[in-house]
Assembly symmetry: C2
Homo-oligomer: 139 residues x 2
DNA sequence: CTGCATGCAAACCGTTTGCATCCCC
DNA sequence: GGGGATGCAAACGGTTTGCATGCAG
């Protein structure tokens, strides 16, 4: 059987981290979350933020996004959906297209792996960065 | 216009790195490539490996895989294809299913980003790790 | 010859961890 | 009161970078 849910004590830090993450529709990095939370809990440590994000991800309360870029990103919306990452500024947004549930089955027949799931990451240039690039061209 | 191809001098290191990467069907990390190359060029520096992988990726000679996990991985096969990553050991394999070219168009209409491409990453347990897990259960 | 590329080592950055103290249950 | 959780700071692992030297063109 799987590891039984490991109690998860209800600390102030835990609550505030989850609340702040739920508040935004972006997909903040750990240190962005740290900045948001620190406004309400100035003495919180970065280690606590990391520990709790990891813990909540393990318990399925939030999503740890395994996307490109140097930093991990987190998402309070746990149902499967796809993302698009700006190749220029690294921002990550949700993409409103339906999830291909058939993909997992298709992968099962094509591979000897035991498939757990899938994720699609689009790459593109966000509107803001498109504007910046246009400006650069007419230098 | 794009940055003009920046000369790319033909050094021994460059050649050997590309040769070794082309030799394997796995998707090695930079330090795995470093180990392979060092057998032929014992004095090569890790920095050189990183610099050249980055440079060759920019020039489209190889692919830098923006997949989950802590380390970046590299691939000498540059045409779009999908990957599956073992959730337990982190190994990355190719997945032999057709590429959905329509996805990029679909994303274009659903988003204000200028779409550049997409990548699908499946998560699963590789055959080797499945075996290990079975052994653990009958402890 | 000239300047891009290399080897080496130090710096960097995101993340993890050890430890004494705290506080939720 | 006890064991998990915290704050703090040091350690860690992967990657990048500065610099003197080397070598391809």
């Amino acid at each position: 059987m799987n590891a039984p849910a490991p109690m998860l004590r209800l600390t102030t830090q835990r609550q505030v981290i989850l609340e702040e993450l739920s508040k935004v529709k972006t997909h903040p990095t750990a240190s962005e979350i740290y900045d948001m939370v620190r406004k309400r809990l100035p003495r919180i440590g970065l280690g606590t933020v990391y520990r709790n994000l990891e813990l909540m991800a393990e318990n399925g309360m939030i999503l740890k996004l395994e996307v490109g870029g140097t930093q991990k990103r987190f998402d309070a919306t746990t149902d499967n959906h796809y993302h698009i990452r700006c190749a220029r500024c690294g921002k990550v947004d949700d993409l409103e297209i339906p999830v291909f549930n058939t993909l997992t089955e298709e992968a099962s027949t094509a591979s000897s792996y035991q498939i757990l799931g899938h994720h699609i990451e689009f790459t593109g240039i966000c509107p803001e960065c498109q504007k910046i690039q246009e400006d650069e061209y007419e230098e």
